[in-house]
Amino acid sequence: MYMLVNDIRNMFPILSRKVYGKNLVYFDNAATSQRPQSVIDEWNRISAESNANIHRAVHCLADEATQAYEASRDAVRDFLNAEFREEIIFTSGTTASVNLVAFCFGEAFVKEGDEVVVTEAEHHSNIVPWQMMCQRKGAVLKVLPVDDDGHLMLDELDSLLTEKTRIMAVTHISNVLGLVNPIKEIIDRCHSKGVAVLVDGAQGAVHCKVDVRELDCDFYVFSGHKLYAATGTGVLYGKKKWLESMPPYMGGGEMVGTVRFSGTTYAPLPMKYEAGTQNFASAATLKSAIDFINLLNNSELNKSIDEIRDYILHCLNKDQRIRLYGVPRGTSDEKIPLFSFTVDGVHHEDLALILDKMGIAVRSGQMCAEPLMDRFGVTGMLRISLAPYNTIEEAEYFVKCLNKAIDMLI
């Protein structure tokens, strides 16, 4: 199906708003993406027509709400090509998913002296839960570094993986560097040494076609709010063998089989990991969001965003004042339309404040990746991250405004 970018933009009500009297240019999609009308409508529909607690009552509203929630599970299963629908666990977001795995995997399989590997390019959410687990279990956290261009130093991977390594946590695409990591190779190398792998797909699920069976990853986690769905939604895909052999995370609600003071049995997957009342109205929007992504993938628009990416990459690369982090080596196809950079002699906050007044929403700061900031010797960066609803005109306007802002500040 042939669609123009304006057809897509018209699906997103927020894109027509103005900020400070100027057209909004939303370039902070890696933090949260905007929502199409279909997602907003689905959330409203559940709230207005089918608001009832799921998985419990037998009445009509409860049945409708449960159906919508479970339809999202099926949609996510198809989206990831998971083998079983019960391998899809709903959480509140990527952070919650990583915490769940770090805690439960740690309880079941990590003992004193064992090792866990992460990379230098991880978001805090894929570092701190593992640190906490290592502290609790007396395990050791090891780090795979990145090189000056932001690529993982895979040559060092084999020496990091020992007979004591239990699990490796790696991001599919860093939220700072925007490079697609060779996770298939990492997974294969980990598996050859009996090491399980969790992939942080917070950015990856948005920009790559993910097939968990082809990847053979043990866990794949992502957030709904970066993927056009409502906020407060997240996904944990886990291989059934792991999810069945790990203990539950939180107790209570519908995660039980039978409850006696003498002991409790747990519900089968996926309910075992979905304690308490779920954020069902938001989770239901995952299906609408995935329907939207399927529509996008069937259009020509992904080619247009690639051209915009190449244009911005070219402009940033040719400007001597700009230092880009996450530089593609071969073709630009290993880079998503996400650019973090610093400008010599200019603070990222000043640039962000001025760009904001020009109507452009960007991210500045440490981007929840302090180790990576330390690696590159900076206190923060400026980041722009684009979505398929962004246009070449917006990119050109950004480049013009960035130059103007730099001139004001230097």
């Binding site: 603070h347 906050e349 000043d350 004001m408």
Partner: protein, 139 residues
């Protein structure tokens, strides 16, 4: 000039700038002209850390008045700091505590103070009050 008169003078000065661009350009100039903190003084105790800009604040007491000295690595924040130093440095703790610190809001820079900006400016104002309050308590 009393503190309130000084605050009103700044509010009046900023009312001349209708465009945000002019305001920012003025703040950038102010920021550039504020004396840098000596590198040796940029210690962790003086650092007010935020996700965005870093702000350093130092003070001493001379004749019952508090002399503030501050710096930031971001120039617009440094410009606002320069304004604040101009207003509150060399005042008695009682004078400082009589201010409601609404001047930044009144000159149309409220968004620079929003907690979501996560910068050091909000913390700096809180710190100025805290210092004044602590010294007043000693009297």
């Amino acid at each position: 000039m009393s503190l309130q008169e000084a605050e009103n003078a700044i509010i009046e000065e900023f009312s001349m700038y209708e465009e945000w661009l002019d305001k920012y350009e003025y703040l950038i100039e102010l920021g550039k002209s504020l004396k840098d903190f000596p590198e040796s003084s940029k210690t962790d105790e003086k650092l007010i850390k935020g996700c965005q800009s870093r702000v350093w604040l130092d003070y001493k007491i001379e004749g019952g008045k508090i002399i503030f000295n501050a710096d930031s690595d971001a120039i617009i924040t440094k410009g606002i700091i320069s304004l604040l130093i101009g207003l509150y440095s060399g005042r008695t703790p009682q004078e400082i505590l009589s201010s409601d610190f609404s001047v930044v809001e009144k000159i149309g820079l409220k968004e620079n103070l929003s907690p979501t900006r996560a910068n050091g400016l909000v913390s700096m104002i809180a710190k100025i009050r805290e210092i004044a309050y602590g010294i007043e308590g000693l009297d």
